[in-house]
Each structure stands twice: as structure tokens, then as C-alpha cells.
Amino acid sequence: MPRLSSVALWCLATVAPVSLANAVLADDIIAPASERFASKDASETPNFQQHIVPLFSRLGCNGRACHGSFQGQGGFRLSLFGYDFKLDHEGLTKGDKDKNKEPRILVEEPEESLTLLKATLETPHRGGKRMDADSWQYNIFRNWIKAGGKSVDEDSPKFVKLEVTPSEIQFGKDGEQTQIKAVAVWSDGTREDVTPLCRFNSNDDLIAAIDSNGLVKSGQTGDTHIVVNYDAGVVPVPVIRPVSDKTGKKYPKVETPTKVDELVVQKLRKLGIVPSDVCDDHDFLRRASLDITGTLPAPQEIVDFVSNQDSDKRAKKIDELLERPGYVAWWTTKLCDFTGNNASFLNNVGGNLGGRDTATQQWYDWISKRVAANEPYDKLVEGIVVATSRKPDEGYTAYCERMCAIYGPKKEGSYAEAGGLTYYWGRQNFRQPEERVIGFAYTFLGLRIQCAQCHKHPFDQWTQDDFNQFKGFFQGINFGVNPRDRSEQQAIMAKLEIDTKKTNGGQLRGELANRAKKGDIVPVDELYTVKPQAAQNNRNKDKDNGKQNARQPAGPKAKLLGGEVVSLMEHDDVRAPLMQWLRDPSNRFFARAFVNRVWATYFNVGIVNPADDMSLANAPSNAALLDYLSQGFIAHNFDMKWLHREITNSQTYQRSWKPNDTNRLDQKNFSHAIPRRLPAEIALDALKQATSSDTEIARLQTDLKGRAIAIAGTNGRAGNSNGSISFALTVFGRSTRETNCDCDRSAEASLLQTVYLQNDGQVLDLLNDKNGWVNSLAPHKAVRNEREEKRSDKSIADAKAARKNFEKSLEGNERELKKARKADNQEEVKEVEARIAELKAKIKKVQAGIEAKPEETPKPAPVVVSLEPEDLVKAAYLRSLSRLPSDSEMETSKKFLTQSEDRLSGARDLLWALINTKEFIVNH
């Protein structure tokens, strides 16, 4: 709880107190309130928004534990963290008739106002003493009450911005101090020094501590931000204290071949951090392959790349990687994370006739198709934001026919081909306008706006009013059958002749899906929008706890976040102006959010970190860098591959993970690569690759079948036969896509992950796989895989048992035949003969199966593989750690192989050891 500190201290830090109201300094800045109201004779009337509400924050009155509590405190409620002027004003001026309580202020006798008596502890106050009588704060409240206790009205000036000086602080040694000064600018041109009315925080008080009056004190070396809050202004000020004496002229010469490098080193120079050297070719290739394509480089590829003398080979490799299907799959997966593709929210999602796993796969495919075509990011997003089910000018019946063809026997067309990603809007956790605002801000703006649903956002500019006005863009977006198409729908329904009276909703849905599968045309739900209405119907507002039904049409206007109020009446689809705002080059969030997320994927931390929390108080570690990349991304027409190239071609991306004395502790300024655990899907794919045969590795480079990065849903089951992989995906923290947070994906290491790598049946099976590397070494002498053998033994045993049964039955029939012939019953003879023929055919078939069994196991093509220890060791290293062994590693491994029972079990143990090294499971 903020405590009121000595007023005297503040006064010392300023010029001589001025008691004249509206005292104006030389540069037209109104002197701080602490000076103007220092004397009890001050006659100026303060304003509610400018002075009273900020003081409530400063004095801690509107905190959660005090009057900001939703229940109020002691019968007096303020809006949490302020900014709901109406509520705050009424809290002060209106008593509670029910409780026979008087108003908190008394205009006739200001000094007798309950507010003042309580805050000065003249009468008991559970919140303790908040200020002294006759202090400047007291005088502000008193004068405001005296003048009638006016609130904010239409004509009140609007807050424009908060100017904070200095804009950056550089400390050199212990004990240094800097005073922050904050000037608020209002729409009437007023500029007021509001330093004593601000709230101050430090993002890391170890590096820079700040007191409640804005005095910053130097702490440890490093960099952080202090944050100044006033009204809607949230201004972060970077504070730097170099970690070494290598700054300015003493800074060594560091090459900066790209703009990214230049901007990164610019910051490092101030910090006295020298970046690590550029990494070697092995590290580069492994890192870039894993990051860009989610795939380990193939052994031969590594050898070729390292021996290649082309000075431009890294840039060429990056281009090559960006063209591989792995890039498409991995970035589709990431985009599915951000957009929230989760089957459990897609039950019965409108327009889907194939079940939720089909929907989740269609979602994936929809994005994949666009990533593969490198569709500009804004265009891809447009397909989501203004998604409709129909093609332009398509009639309802035509739409149903097109959709049914997708699910029908011929499976013509696909969800991905036409229309937008309507499922984004149809998710069960994305139906209420409030949910949509929160989810939309998360996905496309990188903002966590949920706080503002109930109160002023404590670390950002957003107010509840901003939230509520933004909501207008998320109404009137419906799933179902547009009432105007009702007759067409009924006509289609009539042809199906389904007795709807005997089926409930679920049964009908199932029946329609079945009929579509058989080739019938059935009515299909769609996403359609309802035109906004001038007068909004709010009658039901109370009934559903204030939640406005998403089906209700939008009102006449809505306000963009931090932007204009938009008239919606001219738009059939209220989302159109929303999309226009997103892709506008002046939008402060859209491009930055994506750029920052892409950066975070390559560097483990975002330029703003966490990457999905781009609130004003959570400032970027390198603002110039984020600006450059965002503007470049926009200037390059939202070309995603441009962004990937711009980042990965920098030396900054290609730095070694080995730190030096100056950058050892740096985690956020990109001075060296930070080893990070492989993401879940990539870790499992890497395991599979490392243990596969050479031919299989080659296939995995270009073919996504069986790859974890190609799994659409979150449960590891949809559209992929690898059902059992879901356990491992969970252990390694695949995104759950549940809570509008990038933290749904985990990058942490855990004991269970290590247990999995060391001893899980799945990993051991991979090492023993009949198509795996170890078995490929000895095609004639497959290493025993007990499970496989047991399985085939069992099927042979089953076949033999079946043959025995048939044979028994045959004997019986033959006896019957004899009897029938004896009795000369021609009909019977014919019948039994037919049965015998049938049985004989069956026995023959079963017999063939039994005999053919040994051949059924495909023997790997005889590849000439050297079993020389040295060659085996090299091969094992290349396929797992993507490099050749060092001399001592070669020595140790060779010794191990020669001492092993046999070469193959030795090779298997070696590969087991390599996939259990830390080097394998981290990207470095």
C-alpha cells in the first residue's frame, strides 16, 4: 500500500514554493500542485480529473484493499485504480439513503467533510492517516469541495499526453540520483507539472529504485525501466548502469553488418556489454534448421554445408530453409497457438459437419495454405478478422452445396480454399463480446486487456470505458442460418424428409452430418453478420449479468483501442473498420505484436517480454529495434519471410551461446545466444529423426507425414495416427491454447521430461525400431524388437488357430457329404459341396498368410554401411548433435563400441547417450 511520505522532501526538490494560483513558469508550464496549494490561503479551484482522482491513487484510496474494492470499504466505494469519474464522483457526493449515510463531502462546511476527517484521522479511519490537515493535498481536497465538488463534464479538457523528463537515465556509480519530472498536456493547451500527483514504479528496484516523489536512485549494474503513471499516461523511462567500463570510446570495435546488429549493439555499447562471437557453421545450421523448420539438419546436409566455401552460404541456407515444408508446418503451429486452435472449443462449431477433430484440422490447413503461399500477414489476418462462410455473391443453397461436397463421398474442395477462418469466431470460449475483446486483443494486438473489463488497467492506459466501447466491434456476428435465408433452408430440409419432431438437436446434427457424408445436400450453418442498429436494445442487460449477447446487433458506434470513435451504421459488417484499423501503418499494436512474437521465438525472450504483454509499463528492452522491424514489416507489405530473413541474417541471431565476462548475465539484450529447451513438437520430431534410418531422415526433410509439428489439434490426435504422442507432447509443454496466453506453451525443463528421454517405452522403441538407424546398420541381422516380434508371432498363432478350426469344420462337412451321397440326396450334396469349396478356399488363404508372414516384414534395402567404429561414431553424432565428434569424444565413443558385446548394441547405446545429452535437447 503506497504510503504518504514527507511532503517536505518534495518541496526541497523543487523551486521556492509559489502560492499564487495558476502560477505559470517561464516555459508555460503550470507549477506543481504541491506548490500552488502549499498555503492554506491558496484560492485556486482544482479539477476532479486533473487533481482529485490522481490524488486518490497517490494516497492509495482507490486500491483493491481500500475503497477500490468492488464492495467498497466502510460504505464508500471508488473505482479500482480510478478513471470511472461518474462512480467516483457519486461515491463522494451521494450518500446512501438505505443506510442513512450522509454524503462524503459537505460543500457548506468543507472542513467537516467525512473524506477529510477520515483521511486526517480526525475521525477513526480503518485505512489510517492518509494526509495531514493543511497539507497541500488537504488544501486541494478542501478547495475542490468548497467550490462545489464538481465532476468532469463534456467540456472538460481531455488528457492528451504525459511528458516525462529525463527520457533516459544513465547512472555511473552508487548513490547517484535523478529527479523525474512529469508534465501533463491537456486538450485546452494547458501544461501542468504533475510530478507530485504521479505514481512511480520501478520494474527492477535492484537496478533503479524510485521513491513516491519520483527520485530515482542508482543500484546495481544492468538496465530496467521506471514507470510513471498519471491519468491515462503510462510512461516508461529506461535506466541504464553499465556492467563494465567498456562503454563509449572504450567499447571495442564490433561489426554491425545489418541494421538489426547496429541497433542491438547501440544498446550494448551503453551497457558496456560486448557481444559474443558469431557461432560456427555447425551451430548455425542446427539452430537455424530447428528455429525455421522445426527440423534437425540431415547428416549429409551438415557435411555439405560445412565444406561449402561460398561466403554467402548462410543467407542462401536461410532462403532454402524458408522454402521447406517444415517452415510452413512450424509457423502454422505457432499461428494456431496465437489464434487458439483447440478442438475442445470446437464442438458443433458452425459450418462444420465433420466433428471437432475435423474442425481443428481444417483450421490448421486453412492457415497452412496461406503460410505456404507466404500470403502477407495482414491479408492472412483479414481472412480471420472479417471471416464469412460464403464466397462473394454466393447464394445460401450454393453455399450448402459447396460445403456438403467437402464432406460428401467425393470430398470435393476444402474449408481452406474459400471463405475465411470462421471457426475463430465460433469457438465456445469466444462467444460473448467480452470474451472476444480479450481474445482478439491477445491474438492480434499482443495485449492483456482483461483487467480493463472490470477496472482501469493498472499497468496500461486502458479504462473500463475503453473496453466497453471497443466491444461494439464484436457484436452481431452470428452462427446459424440467416433469417433471410430461412425459406431456402426449409426447402433443402424438406427434401431430406427427416422427421424433426422425433429428433433432438444433437440427433439432428448427427443425422445431417451423416446425410452429407452420403452425398445429400443438407442445410449448413454459417457465420453471418447483422447490420448495426441505431438504438440498442439493452433491456436484457441486467438479466445476463451485464453481458451483452453477441447475437444482438452492434450499436451505432464503437471506439477503437487508443483510437477514433467509428460510426458503424455505414458498415454491413462491423468488423470491416476493425480490420482497416489493424492494417493501417499507424496502428501501434498490430505489426509490433507479430514482430515481437517472431523475435521471441528466435531469441527465447521478446523485445517486449513476455511477448504477449505489450502494455505500456512493460517497455521494450530495445525500442529502436522493435520500431525498425515493425516499420520494415509494414513497409514490406507484411511479408513474413522478410521478417524471418531480416532477423536470422543478422549477426545478432548468429552469435555463439558461449558468453564472455561482460555478457554472462545478460538475458534480454541479445548479446549472445541463450540455450533453450526445444519446443515440444520439435523435441519429439528431433528424437524421431535422430533415431531414424538415413532414408527416413531424408524423407522427413520434405515430407511431414508422422511429424509432430504437423499435428493440428492440441490433443496430439487429430488428423494424425500418432495418438500415443499426446503424453509426450504434454510432458514437453505443447501449447494448450486455452487461456489467451503465450504461456500456454511451456519452455521449462522438468524431471519428467528427462525420465521420458532416458527410459520411456516410446524412446526405447524408437532406438529399436525396425526402420530405425540401428537396425538399418544390419539388414540381415535385425536387432530384436520384442514388441514387434510378439505382435507378429501372435498374428501367426491366430492364423494357425483359424486354420485348425476350418480344418475341423471341413472334416465334419466331408463326413456329411458321404452321408448325403449314401442317401442320394442331391440337394444336400450340392449344398455341402459348396460349403466344402468355401472352406477349402479359406484354408488356402489362411495358409498363404502364414507362409508369407516372414516375407511380409520388409527388409530394408541393403545399404552399404560401414560398421567401422569411427564411421559409426561420426554418423551417430551427425544425426543427433548435428556435428562431428571432438577427438576426445571420438576416443571415448570408439572405446565404448569396441568394448560392447556387439557393434549394433554398442551403436544403440551410443545413440541413447547422445540423445540424452543436454546438447541434444537444447537449441544453442
Partner: protein, 432 residues
């Protein structure tokens, strides 16, 4: 599952992680402090703890701190019932715990100010009010660091997972998450612990020796990279667990006698409690169990009628089971949510909202005097009657039972000294 709602006035942390350079050993300065504090090591009786996290924030007024005399807008629908200890009453929907009141102690009037799930959870899981610049380790990380492993049994286990962070101690002290909860009478194992595919211990040891010889790339960088250090530690722990039959059996609740199993109900929480007792017996130092669903903004009483029975039977079973095995004296049980709930009923939703100012916690075993109520809330349960206890105090007491001085200092990798619990004091009444 991660929580993301962070809607109150405390800054969300920036996930600064610090290392433990210099903080791992008992320095002379620490030793002196430890000794002069005097209060601790000799009296400690516990060598393990079980932490039950009632996530969502259970209402105090409808469980362990009923106010039958309070005004209607506060009171709630439930009636209090007598317990095995004369003078102590709890909710009528906790009858088994009422019968076992002599086996645990209720703390009333615990108080703090963080009314958001994430921050409150962090607070009661670490005993330190969350700071933006530092991530505090949860109890499990501290306990496993201080008390160390016990043979090949993982020192820190969460059933099925834990909200606790490892903070500046590093990921190596993170719990083993079982990922699943056991089912009644069925064999239970953490996947991957069984030797399969014809592997022998010898073969595993041979591989492991090779791995140790080869895994050298990051050697020397353990202290600057917590991931590297954590992976090292996990490697050793995993190997120890895989090669030890004892560690595998520790998870297999079906090995318990039928009579013992009968103490527990069939819900996942009951079975988790059963597993916790077995793990502690085998040597695990810290077990976390999560029982969620207490965020009863809506329809509070009907929800509680469903939520109370598993807590009632699972916790009763645990306390009885520990006693039966003679483990209650050496095992501290600590039960808490992240906050209480508004004493004043939210009539529009017939629920109670977040309320950290007044809440309950439960403690048992580990040398604590059971069968008491400590502390008191005021008449309408809005505040503690006098000073009340902070989560820091309860945390200090938890560490006290385990012989860990809560004033012990660690150092972050920037050299900042940090006490295990910054602001807490051991609550003497717990040990009276």
C-alpha cells in the same frame, strides 16, 4: 494450467530469474544467524511436508470459520456442527473432519491483501509477498534444497502438478509432476520409471556411464545457465529413480493394504492423499496436492455441497493414515487456498468474491499441537479479531517444523541476499 488473470494493483513480475551462486553452502554468517536464532533446529520433529493447495480461494465462512450469529447478508446457508474437540465447530458439510478435529489445527484470521488468483497463489505458495523484480521459490523447492534427497526417492512431488515456482533457486528444485492421479486399487506408476524392453540395470548403468563421459559441452557453464544446471540435476534424479525399485514402488498405491486403502474415498483427491502418505513414508520430502474449484463467485452453497465432501474424506483419510503409520509426528500437513471470500454475500450471483483480508488455513502434524483453533476473525469475518496472521507467519512456522530457519539467507546471482521468508514470524501458539 497457467493462470493469466492478473487484475490487481501489484505489478506483474517480469520473470527475472536469479541463480544461486554463493548461496548453496552454509556460510559462516548464516551459521551464526542460524545458531543465534536458537529457536529452531533442536525442536524440529518433521522431515517431510504435504501441502494441499485449494485453488480458487475457498470461502472461510462456509467451511472452517462459520458465523452463525452474523447478519443475514453475511451469514450463508450452512450450519456449524460440533467436532471431536469440545468448543470447536466447523461446517456441517465436513463431518469426517469434524470427527478428526483432534488431528489438525485451524488458523483463523489469516490476512493479506492480494486478491487476484495468480498473485495470491504465488504468495501462499512461497510465504513471501510477490515482488516484480524477483521470483520467490515455492515451499517445495526450499524444502528439497534444504533437506535434500532421501535415497532415490524424488524429494519434491506434485500430484498431479504444482503451481509452485522455483524462482531464484533454479529449475533443478522443481517438483516431479505425476501428471495423473491414481485410481482406487489400481497400480500406479509414473510413466517411464519402469524398466522395459528387456533392459537390465547393468545395461542402463553402462549407458549412463557413457552419457556421463560424453555430456560435456556445457560443462563449466552450469552456474550461468539455470537450464543447463537443471538438466544436469534432472539427469541424475531420473537415473536414480529408474534404477531403484524402491522409488517405483513408492508410487504404487495398490501395494498398500486393503485396510489402509479403505481409509480413503474414491475421488482423485482421496487417492492423491493416499499416494502422498505413501510417498512420504518412502522418503519424499515435499508433496503438493491440488484440489481446485473453489472460485465460487456464483451459486456458492450448491457448489460447496459438491466441493466439501472430497476435501472432507481425503484430508480425513490422510490424517488418519499418517497417524496409523506413525508418520503424523514427522510430517507437517498444510492446507490453504490463495484467499478467503467476501463475507458479504454477492446477492446478484448468490456467491462470494475474492477476499484476502480474512481467510483460514489448516495445519497438522510435524510437532504442531493438533486439535486447536488459533487466531480469531471478527464478528462478521471481515478481518482478524486482533493482529491476525500473515501467510508469511504460517510459512515461517511450516519451515520451523522442518528444522529450516526461515531467516536463512540465500544469494541471487547478482549477490542480493534474500531471506527464505522475509517478513514472517513463527507462530508460537501452534507449538504450545
Amino acid at each position: 494450467m497457467p493462470t493469466t488473470t492478473t487484475c490487481n494493483g501489484v505489478r506483474r513480475r517480469d520473470f527475472l530469474k536469479a541463480g544461486v551462486i554463493g548461496g548453496t553452502g552454509l556460510t559462516l554468517a548464516n551459521y551464526m544467524k542460524f545458531a543465534s536464532a536458537g529457536e529452531v533446529a533442536s525442536k524440529a520433529t518433521a522431515n517431510a511436508a504435504i501441502f494441499i493447495n485449494l485453488t480458487g480461494g475457498p470461502t472461510h465462512m462456509d467451511t472452517f470459520d462459520l458465523k452463525p450469529e452474523a447478519k443475514a447478508e453475511f451469514r450463508g446457508e450452512f450450519n456449524p456442527i460440533d467436532t471431536a474437540v469440545p468448543g470447536i465447530q466447523i461446517s456441517e458439510h465436513l463431518p469426517k473432519l469434524a470427527q478428526n478435529m483432534h488431528l489438525f489445527t485451524i488458523l483463523r484470521g489469516v490476512t493479506h491483501t492480494l486478491g487476484a488468483h495468480e498473485l495470491g497463489t504465488e504468495y501462499v505458495n512461497a510465504g513471501n509477498r510477490p515482488l516484480p523484480s524477483l521470483e520467490y521459490p515455492g515451499y517445495g523447492a526450499i524444502v528439497s534444497k534444504e533437506l535434500g534427497g532421501n535415497g532415490n526417492i524424488p524429494p519434491n512431488v506434485a500430484i498431479p502438478r504444482s503451481r509452485q515456482k522455483t524462482g531464484y533457486l533454479g529449475v533443478q528444485y522443481a517438483p516431479l509432476n505425476t501428471g495423473e492421479t491414481p485410481k482406487p486399487g489400481e497400480m500406479f506408476s509414473v510413466r517411464g520409471l519402469k524398466l522395459s524392453g528387456g533392459l537390465t540395470i547393468d545395461a542402463v548403468e553402462k549407458r549412463q556411464a557413457l552419457l556421463n563421459d560424453l555430456d560435456k559441452t556445457f560443462r563449466g557453464f552450469e552456474e550461468t545457465n539455470q537450464l543447463v544446471k537443471g538438466l544436469d540435476k534432472f539427469g541424475q534424479q531420473a537415473h536414480a529413480m529408474i534404477t531403484s525399485p524402491k522409488s517405483r514402488e513408492a508410487f504404487d498405491i495398490s501395494k498398500e493394504s486393503p485396510n489402509f486403502q479403505k481409509l480413503f474415498g474414491e475421488t482423485p483427491f482421496d487417492q492423491s492423499c493416499l499416494l502422498a502418505s505413501r510417498l512420504v513414508e518412502a522418503g519424499t520430502r515435499f508433496v503438493t496436492i491440488e484440489l481446485g474449484g473453489w472460485d465460487t463467485h456464483n451459486d456458492n452453497w450448491n457448489q460447496l455441497k459438491k466441493k466439501s465432501p472430497p476435501l472432507d474424506s481425503g484430508l480425513s483419510g490422510l490424517l488418519q493414515g499418517l497417524q496409523l503409520k506413525g508418520l503424523l509426528e514427522t510430517t507437517t500437513v498444510f492446507v490453504t487456498g490463495e484467499f478467503g471470500r467476501t463475507p458479504k454475500i454477492n446477492t446478484t450471483r448468490n456467491g462470494r468474491d475474492h477476499y484476502p483480508r480474512c481467510m483460514f488455513m489448516l495445519m497438522a502434524g510435524g510437532g504442531i499441537k493438533n486439535g486447536q483453533v488459533i487466531g480469531k476473525s471478527n464478528a462478521d469475518a471481515t478481518l482478524p479479531d486482533s493482529k491476525g496472521f500473515s501467510p508469511d507467519d504460517v510459512a515461517a512456522s511450516l519451515f520451523h517444523t522442518l528444522g529450516i530457519s526461515h531467516t536463512k539467507e540465500y544469494h541471487t546471482d547478482t549477490g542480493r541476499p534474500i531471506m527464505i521468508v522475509r517478513d514472517g514470524h513463527v507462530i508460537p501458539e501452534l507449538f504450545a
